[in-house]
Symmetry: D3
């Protein structure tokens, strides 16, 4: 029975925006290296960087009907996250749907399938992460669900979870963990800024991270090229 | 016996140019969702958008000899369409061939194989849709055919058919259908402009397309989250 | 036993720089069409074009520890070349490692695996050719080797070999052949410049390359379309 | 912090065994077409068909240490389900681990990665569904988790969930739904047996399923070939 | 408008059967190396070898409704050939449809998509060539066409064309060419039998095919290892 | 300049045969986890297991001419190893070439490309490891090299190196290391036999391999399910 869950709780938009100070790689590390979507999801233009609350949506293969249903559930600050119930590279999403989402304040689209009208989407500055770019259109015959938990590109997403996406990929932060993960990001960034300065000054990671004794334990051998040949 | 067909009839260049007002997604829809090449064909730079008459060419794997033969058959307004007789990602085409085609008024290349010298092709603004970018060169030992009907990236192409290509893919319009498809494109565009305005004003597709009753027929259920948990 | 070879001989930086006058396709042809890495390696931004001496490095899947070891072996004018011991798309390399390499005068990275922080790497103008862009991080538990001969993306690389990389791919020139290959490149370029001028003037490759007699030998048949239908 | 959850509740082995009367396609339909793992998971030999309770296990790329930890948590009637934290085709599992699992009454292995020693596993009649067969070994340096919920090949698996696997794929049935899904399977099978007999007797699905009126509504047109040409 | 063409002319079943004396590789060569489907189509069991007349059928992604329509058009000696209008690996076809086709004397299925119930299909000895094996089911909402010309796995198929399929792949022989291609097969086989005997006696292909002079023309050099090191 | 090296030194056939006591996974471990070809190489039938000396051969894409040249260089106990100069899935090798190799005592073929006539090859019991099975034939126009060092499926192979292949993959053992690697295999096997007996008796790898203290160091936590929920 196709179902729409309405009025889902979300991450506060102001909290979500603070994540824009960090790349996906940093957020992923800061929450313990979980929640990353597959590497196959690519932004249609670079650079792109968004953070917001997930509205989840499943679609039948070659059928984008449920996306029209999901649009109505979207609020300012949301990110629409779409996954087909079986793999499909068709162009589910084009410029008309983007106009509609943009008019509602939606920040972008994550879709484990194809999109089209990408030149127009790029001009509109509506960011999309997708598996494919393909002009092949879709029908409107079969319904999926909106705002049920789902697996998208290998990651579990609940409605209202925080999504962060940039040129390196897409990460899901469970709603309840968002504040804690933000603190971890801030702490990492402070530490990395210091490290970056030392590396730029020519210091070696081997020394900064104190790796030399562990290398020795592992039995690493250094030999000069002239002694080998 | 390798064969070249000369002096093939074409779509009039002025007719072809009128298609530049439409994306491939629109043309594909307007001719009944047929004739699209596989999603694997990608432009070497974006944005790119061309329309013109096909000169068809088959090549042996790893052998670009027949492309040299095909160049001679190209006229202003043509698009060269190349397919290998078995899958091959070699760089069949580079800047010298592009210079030659450009000097003859050719609008671009569609090739279900690889190309190279892509930085130069991009500077030259010579658009290419290909399966791969690869510096690996080719030999000149085996001949294919020029201007016979062929299957390229899953679509049947006759010489003189209209080709339209943009960032979303490549579509083939049979020569005899080109005028009718253009009319359909114009009609779709008029309709979509109105819809776009309504969506931009915040109306929902569910309402514009009158989808709600069908949703109901399908038994769509809306439930509030607070009633679910 | 994990091993680092130090003080490897290199191609002279001034010799390497002279290769920047040529694309990878030209260098590949000029050394007899060998030494090209697989087409799957792509630059994270375009255009990009570097030439330098290889520092080679193998890494365990999902483990970038050895890259930290390799950094210390890098000198101005080097290019770091990394390959995992089994296929892995994780993000082995990010902005901190790039800062460290850039502070040592390294020209870029070739990695048959994934990278991350690509928006920052692009801003920094640190060029990378990789199989993937992926935020997934790595651990530091298992050591590989630095500056042993290795196969990267299907090509054999010895430490100190010349690497040339551009938008079309990556080619390896054995250190001992670098001078000879450069001469071949120069000779090809002189010849191609003349050909380019003739093609731009509208001459046909069929005539410039004297192909017509060979086409005749192969039995190529020309027929006018009006005589076929 | 790597974690092992012990003494997880399971589906009763006798309940699991009753699922062996049904193929994965039937179970998948019977629970509403959800819970199917990706098509990339293949059995190492055919035919193979198992049903049992999941012990879940995440592993680092190229590192099978956690599988050794998971073995101890397995009981008779269990199926071990393993997923790497990033994609990896290495051979995580071979004949020694299979001997160990078989001695504990484990029914098979589902692994979204590679296995090896497959000739021996086939002789032993220890069924495995995997993404790859590859002799490349793994290390024992990094720990994952045992019996935490995880995503395997696109499906969410909780420890103790029912797994059914056959030549067509792998499906997950949540522990709490197992009895209800079994009833649906039985009902479907009874119905299909009757249909099979009618089809074998030459009746058409179009008639048995009463499809003709819907075909007419959709505007399906029948034309004789002789009237078309 | 979805369309079914009825009463299509076919290759005579007795002519089709004579092709079973030849492998697909031989038939492909004998008709001039055209008409081969992509390498991605694989038999669900080996060995398998069939020849018969094509009934063609297009299906929407994830929707097998049209296959039910096509069944009624099948006659003894036919082979059903199915292609989705955009790429889809769902299991379009299972044991019930196979029972129905087998009861009508159909020799097998070629499908550029997925199938399921493969253990049962194998037991039934109903051969299928497919892109995928996957338990994911399909819906019945959207209609395609039956017995229109179509492109399947890169090859153009007209209804009534001869299909030959074996462990190496699938080839299409246009109906009008079937007799001539059969004669070529017979001639090739006679010649190959003699060659096979000579090779089995230890003669070299280089001598049998008289290749030595062309090798010399190409400048092939033989050097002893002792003269190289 | 295409080149054939003749009379290459080999691994003694009696030494090669002793490797048949071990799987590829064992040999790979025993020589320090190097020399494995990519996972994409699959045997055309299972089980299959061979060991012998490499005759190396490069071929142009879609051109098997050089294989005919290589046949002459093969001796009893050899394994022919073929790699195309750019990726190609055509059927380079069929039953005639297999008859010829078998008549010379060759043990099998490793080819990083396609083969055909696989039903006949299986009947003949001529084992082949390949990237693809495809009926598409090849031409004889361009020459490669025989018995030069080459990279095949990511591994460096010198003529005369030992090749071991089984259902899990293909491994290359440098000729000079063959005796030492055999000794390591024997030592591993002795040790594994004991371990296998203990595992079959129900002992845990955690205890046999003494892993428990290292698990504790890594901070592994055990929690009962009832204390978690």
């Amino acid at each position: 029975m196709p179902t729409v869950i309405t009025e889902c709780p979300r991450v506060a938009p102001t909290l979500a925006e603070r994540f824009l100070a960090f790349g996906v790689a940093t957020v992923h590390e800061a929450q313990g290296r979980v929640g990353l979507m597959h590497a196959g999801l690519k932004p249609i233009y670079r650079p792109a960087h968004i953070a917001g609350s997930a509205v989840t949506c499943t679609v039948a293969p070659g059928d984008n009907w449920t996306i029209h249903v999901a649009v109505e559930q979207c609020q300012p600050g949301d990110i629409l996250v779409v996954t087909p119930t079986s793999p499909c590279e068709d162009g589910y999403f084009g410029d008309l749907l983007a106009v509609s989402l943009q008019s509602r304040g939606v920040r972008g689209l994550i879709i484990a399938a194809g999109v089209r009208d990408t030149a127009t989407l790029t001009e509109m500055k509506f960011p999309v992460w997708s598996n494919a770019i393909f002009a092949q259109g879709t029908v409107k015959e079969t319904l999926g669900d909106v705002n049920l938990p789902m697996v998208c590109a290998g990651a579990l997403v609940h409605p209202g979870d925080l999504i962060v996406a940039d040129d390196d990929g897409v990460v899901v932060v469970p709603r309840a963990s968002a504040e804690r993960v933000l603190e971890n990001c801030l702490a990492r960034e402070t530490k990395e800024a210091k490290t970056r300065a030392r590396l730029a000054a020519g210091e070696l990671g081997l020394d900064i991270y104190g790796m030399r004794s562990r290398l020795q334990e592992k039995g690493l051998v250094y030999r000069a090229a002239r002694d080998v040949a």
